[in-house]
Each structure stands twice: as C-alpha cells, then as structure tokens.
Symmetry: D2
Subunit: 139 residues, 4 copies
C-alpha cells in the first residue's frame, strides 16, 4: 500500500488544520506504516525541573498516530482518537527534543491502531510508550 501523503503533505496539513500546535512538531521521516515526529523543546511544555510534561508527551504520541494514519489514507481532518493507553517510564531529559517513533499496527476500514515509543533525543531507553486507536470517518 503506497503512501498517500509525504513529509511535505503532512506538514502542510498540520499547519492548516492545527495551526495552534503546528509549530510544536516537526516531522522527521515517514514511510509506509511508520513515522518519526519530534516535539521541539519549548518552555511551555516543561514542568518544574525542565522536564517535558505528561500532556505534552500525550500530545506528541497522539499526533504521531494521527499522522501515520493519514499518511496511509490521505487527508481526513475528522479522524478522532477513541482510545489511548500510555506508560510513563523514565524522566525525559531537560532541554532535549522529544522524539516519537510510531508504527501502524493495524489499518482497518473503521479503526487504526498505532504503537509509539517516545525518546529524549540522544538517549537509548524510551521515556514512554503509548498505543492509540483512531476512528476513521466513513464517507
């Protein structure tokens, strides 16, 4: 199954549909069923001590699952998250970008399921993992 959207297409889509948060994210790479996305280190995502906040990690995982789904089915602004489970395992490194590596495990007619590992740039052990289900709007 070929990619319906590349890094450029996805970046433009994000800027158009999610203007408020588009600056927070940068798409590093996209392949069939796989994406790497980064949360650019901004003060507003930080907790005391300089660590990235839980909601910011959730947001990164959520956007990566959304974009890897759209990369395969094309631009559908109305796809919505129905479920997320997330485990916070280690403290992110202060001042480092947070990187999501996201694998599309299932792409059905109604649902997509994606697995995400989150890393502080430059570290090997993941800081968090998440699984997200998106409902795909029907015509």
């Amino acid at each position: 199954m070929p990619l319906q959207m590349n890094v450029d297409d996805l970046s433009k889509f994000l800027s158009k549909e999610f203007l408020q948060v588009a600056d927070d994210f940068a798409i590093d790479n996209v392949e069939e069923g796989w994406i790497q996305l980064r949360l650019v280190a901004h003060d507003k995502h930080l907790r005391p001590g300089g660590t990235v906040s839980g909601p910011a990690m959730f947001a990164l995982a959520d956007v990566s699952a959304y974009l890897v789904t759209l990369a395969m089915i094309g631009p559908k602004a109305l796809a919505v998250t129905t479920n997320c489970s997330i485990d916070f395992m280690r403290k992110p490194r202060a001042g480092a970008d947070l990187i999501a590596r996201c694998t599309l495990l299932k792409l059905g007619k109604h649902l997509s399921v994606s697995d995400v590992l989150l890393y502080s740039e430059g570290q090997n052990a993941p800081v968090a993992r998440a699984t997200l289900t998106y409902a795909i709007p029907q015509k």
Copy 2:
C-alpha cells in the same frame, strides 16, 4: 482515613508547583477519595470547531488523579503518573467547561489508582473516561 488537604490547600499547592497551568483548573469539591475539578474553557485548549483538545482532556484527568491522591497523603510534588488509559467517547460541547469527577480506587504504599469521568458542563453523558496510576515517592 481523613483528608490531608482541602480545596484551599490543593489550590495553593497547584499555584505554587504548577504555575504554568494552575489558571486552567478550578477545584470544585474534594472529599475522602473523591474530587471534582474543572478545566476552565480557554481558547488555547480548543481544536477547530471549538471542542476541547485531547491533550487538554488528558491533562484534566491527570491533574484530578494527582490531586485526589495528594488530598489523602499530603503535599508530595514528586508523585508521578506511571500509566493512563483513556477512552474518548463523545465530542465535548463547544464553549463549556469540562468537569472531571475522580474516584480514588486504591491507595497503596507505592501506587494510587484513580478512575475519572469527564463531562461537558450541563450534559449527562460523559465525554471521556480515564484511569490513572500514580507512583508515590518513598521517604
């Protein structure tokens, strides 16, 4: 087990430890093992169409589980979320505050487990549910 912190104590704690987000939340009520918290409707939490974003809903659930735990054990800034599962079930109502009703299901020595239902103010059907585990720092 008596409350260690009341609404005033928790509000002051939030303002001191989480200055960046304290304005977003208002504590309506706290009882033994139970809290009601609201996310005050701000433009910055909204998605196109005026609905509250997923990360903002996650943040509300997360803070409510944190505060209901602290209400029982006293102020410990270092308690951290280890796990969250969240189901998004309905679209929040545009322009309405989002209300979390959070029940502490377990308070152990190392972990607390809380269940949260999220409602758009004025509506009966929950927009989301979440379960969160907090790790309680040891002395």
Copy 3:
C-alpha cells in the same frame, strides 16, 4: 432505550454460543446499561494460594461487557472485543465468587464502551477494574 434481552435471554445465549465457559458464569441482574455477573468459584480459575487468576478476572470482565452490550442491541454473536485496559488492585479472597458490576458508558453504532469493577463477594474494596471496547458488527 429498552432492554432487548433479560437475564433469561442472556443466560440461554451464553449457553448456546459459549458452551465451554457458560457454566463458569451466572448473571445476577441486568438493567438498562448495567449488568451484574459472577464468576462461580471453581478450582480451575485458581492460582496457588486459592486466589482467582488474572486470565479468569479478564474473562469475567470481558463477558460482562459483552453481555451488557447485547442486552441493549440484541443477540449478535459476532461482536468482538477490540480493546481492554485492566488494573489489578487487590488480591481476590480465596474461595469467594468474583462479582462484576458493569456499566455501559457508550453505545454507538460501531463501538460500545463499558466500565467494570470486580469484587470478591462480601468485600467492599474492588479487586480490579477494567474498561472494554466492543466492535458491533454491521449488517
């Protein structure tokens, strides 16, 4: 929305469609969007020490979410679990039936979402909680 199946209907359905496990479960009560189900204490569900095993608790939660969905939509053997999150919070009491109290939080066209609390009979604190999503087969 009226009940499509009562305790008798659901018990017969279970015996017919899930013969291998039907003897394990007894339906105590069903109402609109709510069911109470019990796992009858059998040796085969036990772990060393006489406690109910994790898979047996999962099975009880899963069947309760299935039956509360069917109670509202009528008999559809092909509804399937798509997601479950479960927290094990306390050790079940040895030799006691395990009781599931299950609330249907959402009944959509494609998905149902149910919350379950599991109790050892005669105890107040829940031993586990679970949330399950079922995919509803389309005609």
Copy 4:
C-alpha cells in the same frame, strides 16, 4: 545485565509454580530483555470457529511479561500484574499456535513494563498487542 534464568530454568519454574497452566505454554527463546513464548493450540482455548479466545490471548501475554521479568531478576513467584492494556486487532488463525514476542521496556526496582506482540504461527500481521506492568516484590 546478564540473564538470571535461561529457557530451562524458566520452564522448570513454570511447571513448579503454575502446574495447572504450564502445559499450555512452551518457551521458544529468551535473551536479555526479550522472550518468545507460544500457546500450544488446545481445544480448551478455542472459541466457536476454532479461534483462540480473548482470555487465552491475555494469559499468553501475561505469562510472557512475567517470564521476561523473572529472566532478568531471578525466580520470584510473587511478582504480580498490576496493569494490562491489550488491543485485539485480527482474528487468530484456527488451529495455529499463538506466539508472543515480548520486549522488556523498563526494569525498575518496583515495576517492570513489557510490550508484547501476538502472532498466529505462520502469519506476519500481529493478531494482538499488549503492554503489562508487573509489581516486583521487595525483600
């Protein structure tokens, strides 16, 4: 960090501590932070149509997370599951063994977190995924 238990050690432990279910499982391989386990196809795990049941898939994921943890910390019968999230994505193939490939994502002092992908033998697309947290007993 070296392995504390190899395939033989883990198999003997399983036979001794979980006699009732030990025959259901076979350990294919174990490495540092990784295990492959199989659920041997038995009639008792099947649903109508010959597919492996949800509780049997849960049990396989649960045991694999348990064993990969013990492989690293040594035999501790009292480690208990505290949380599981599981997504059922495809129907398992009738009559095929179910294979778990399990990665230990975090091994802390109090908790381990493991990710599991489940496959029907001979198929490439996973039938389910799960994440499990184990509480590690303290001395």
